[in-house]
Symmetry: D2
Amino acid sequence: MVRVVGINGSPRKYGNTFKLLKVALKVAEAEGAETELVHLIDYDIKPCIGCLCDDQKACRYPCVIEDDMKELYDLVLESNGLIIATPVYWFSPSGIVKNFIDRLTALENMVVVDGVSWVEGKVAGVITVGNDSGVVHVLATLYATLNGMGFAIPPWAMAYYSQEGNVLADEKATLAAANVGRAVALMCKHVKHLERKWYDAELKDELAALARAVEDEAREVERSELAKRKKIFEKALEKAFATDG
Amino acid sequence: MVRVVGINGSPRKYGNTFKLLKVALKVAEAEGAETELVHLIDYDIKPCIGCLCDDQKACRYPCVIEDDMKELYDLVLESNGLIIATPVYWFSPSGIVKNFIDRLTALENMVVVDGVSWVEGKVAGVITVGNDSGVVHVLATLYATLNGMGFAIPPWAMAYYSQEGNVLADEKATLAAANVGRAVALMCKHVKHLERKWYDAELKDELAALARAVEDEAREVERSELAKRKKIFEKALEKAFATDG
Amino acid sequence: MVRVVGINGSPRKYGNTFKLLKVALKVAEAEGAETELVHLIDYDIKPCIGCLCDDQKACRYPCVIEDDMKELYDLVLESNGLIIATPVYWFSPSGIVKNFIDRLTALENMVVVDGVSWVEGKVAGVITVGNDSGVVHVLATLYATLNGMGFAIPPWAMAYYSQEGNVLADEKATLAAANVGRAVALMCKHVKHLERKWYDAELKDELAALARAVEDEAREVERSELAKRKKIFEKALEKAFATDG
Amino acid sequence: MVRVVGINGSPRKYGNTFKLLKVALKVAEAEGAETELVHLIDYDIKPCIGCLCDDQKACRYPCVIEDDMKELYDLVLESNGLIIATPVYWFSPSGIVKNFIDRLTALENMVVVDGVSWVEGKVAGVITVGNDSGVVHVLATLYATLNGMGFAIPPWAMAYYSQEGNVLADEKATLAAANVGRAVALMCKHVKHLERKWYDAELKDELAALARAVEDEAREVERSELAKRKKIFEKALEKAFATDG
């Protein structure tokens, strides 16, 4: 059994963001996952105070800030997949989503504290909804963020909608959301056993040998390439002088 | 056996972009993958002419443009994983990488022609190298792009370096590149059998029922939520009048 | 006399974000501006509740939410220029900066209420500071955001730093920050008289005639271009059949 | 008199990208500017070969590559404003636009060669057109790019359209494009005399004194702030031990 948590980052608990997220979760259920939908607006999530800039190891689970994030950390830790659905405010996630993400650092930064990110190998999907535009900009940012924390991203883990009106009347967006639910659940099943087993810090021992081999190859290529490039420059130089004269 | 192709998007065949890519491929090999490294600068890749804006189905494999992209299409089709390494020119991939990506549309757009993207379920990793900055901006764009074509992205499929000097002297970046090779090879093994089997167009048949159920739930929440919101507005209004008077 | 307000979005009131911002403000002063530096962490800024999705005109100044944003609205309205300095948390501004930006909508959305954005023609600069990367991604997002609200952006209105250590020891970043202060103050002087006078809604009356003229020109070009494109397709088709046979 | 050049980055010389650009230029003319529209697809623009990574000063005007970019460099140098209109291919500008931008480096990098970017103080506007989405992602990237080269950006220098169908039937997008033309022409008039006079390298002489003053202030704040932070940690630690015991 896999568990998929849906995070609704819209303060409007009944809007298009909620609707696409709910569609995704229902399909994840049909695919065999247990699901839960969380409205971030119901939680008091204080801003991150940036402890790790003072001391790299100060940022860890449990976070020093006392608020409702405590419950959300547990939800994330107990899940195999996370679908973040956010409205697009000024080409970015809403402020509450951003606070949620900043605070997730306490799980990711365990890589510094005990050698492994506590979300590594979990699976992520993203849903973005705007009245206008910016949906892909947010999506791209969240992909880089979640993958940089250690989440895997299944094919087409994205659904977006940037028009006014009820999103459920838009087949394209609704179908995309349905497939987000499906892909996240499917990927959870295939990589669940690999949680916290992706990143291999021991590759460090092989880096010196690797680097040497690559450096040798690069040097050899460089020699012949730089000769070619020199010719291009000389030709341009000659021409410049000819013009001057 | 899985196959991972590395795409070097730098015109400098001996620079930092090449070096990190080569490290990744060597580790992918150690993980059991066959690999091949391609220098895009060696290929004549003409710009996409945007056929699909004239006719959605006009963009398909084989592409109407005659150039060296033909060979690269074959390489991509025969691979299970793709690692794109690009220099960062003005906070974006180099122009040759962009032309390569635009032209990949001929494989992805097969979803319109025969119902499935021909790169769906392949695995992607990204390496970005700049002298200065923008490495994450490019990474985020390429993640959205590749995932939007149907590629899966394993945990930490990214390595970047934004300083001057030989990247191989930077352990952090080199270790990240090594793990990109590892993660891409590992994910290839786990999802290879799912190529072209992720996206489920038949979910379309269930959308109407799904939409109805979600709409009902949203309406119910909306009723109570809007009442709460109305009170906030009324209170603000009252206060505004009180101030005016 | 022009007024430039600096917004420090870092919870650490003594860190690199603060330092670069202070450098910028000092140079703006030398250029003749009055300045003020605000630490967002000292203000209670609640998340935006997205009123405008319920009713486009519901979002207006004064905002319905009662908190310290009231003071910040006044500061922004009385300024000619704004320099936003933010730490980079997960390739995005900190959550408090995002809440500040979301809430600025109450000034910008006056365009719907009384025909003009209340920040139109003010001048913006951006400073981004990370330990690692993403500084340009944030910068690009804030540029689109601030310009989309109506702010002008002078040449090189950006400074960024993505390494560890004291930023003041890095001449390049410090010089960039100094020039942000200079450029913002300089631009304020040159466009101050144009505040709320840039966007011309009355161009609407000329759109029909404009559209007709442009449409005619496009049609003419289309005729000859499509003929050329058709030939490319026919040639590709012929070749495909020749290969099949 | 000011001069505004419009760059059409779409291979389709009759499509929506062209149409919005033409609207912008016509309004710029009504505002008193001379204008010229260039279709990039008519020019042979080879990819940048990254000379400056081999030698910082090797990248300069005239560029060593011999192709049609020569004419475009002249057009840019003789203009006061530039409006770049690009189709959105995979959340990015088209490959030909990217090659054009990469090659503009030869003008910008004159900052290294003779102390000033040759496009500094020119004015930029951006138009992005897609069938689907990503228009803001491209816009944000181009803003960071153009401003990083030294272009000024007037209020609302952006127009975008991400739907199918004739853009001229969409009043919102067409009006936005008209205002791009107006704002670019207007800003050109106000800052034309400042071309190549924005960035002040001589601020370098004042950096040491500035840095010292800022450092002193930061240290003072740090002392009191770190004491407060220490208390938060101690409280969290105590609680953690209490729980353990």
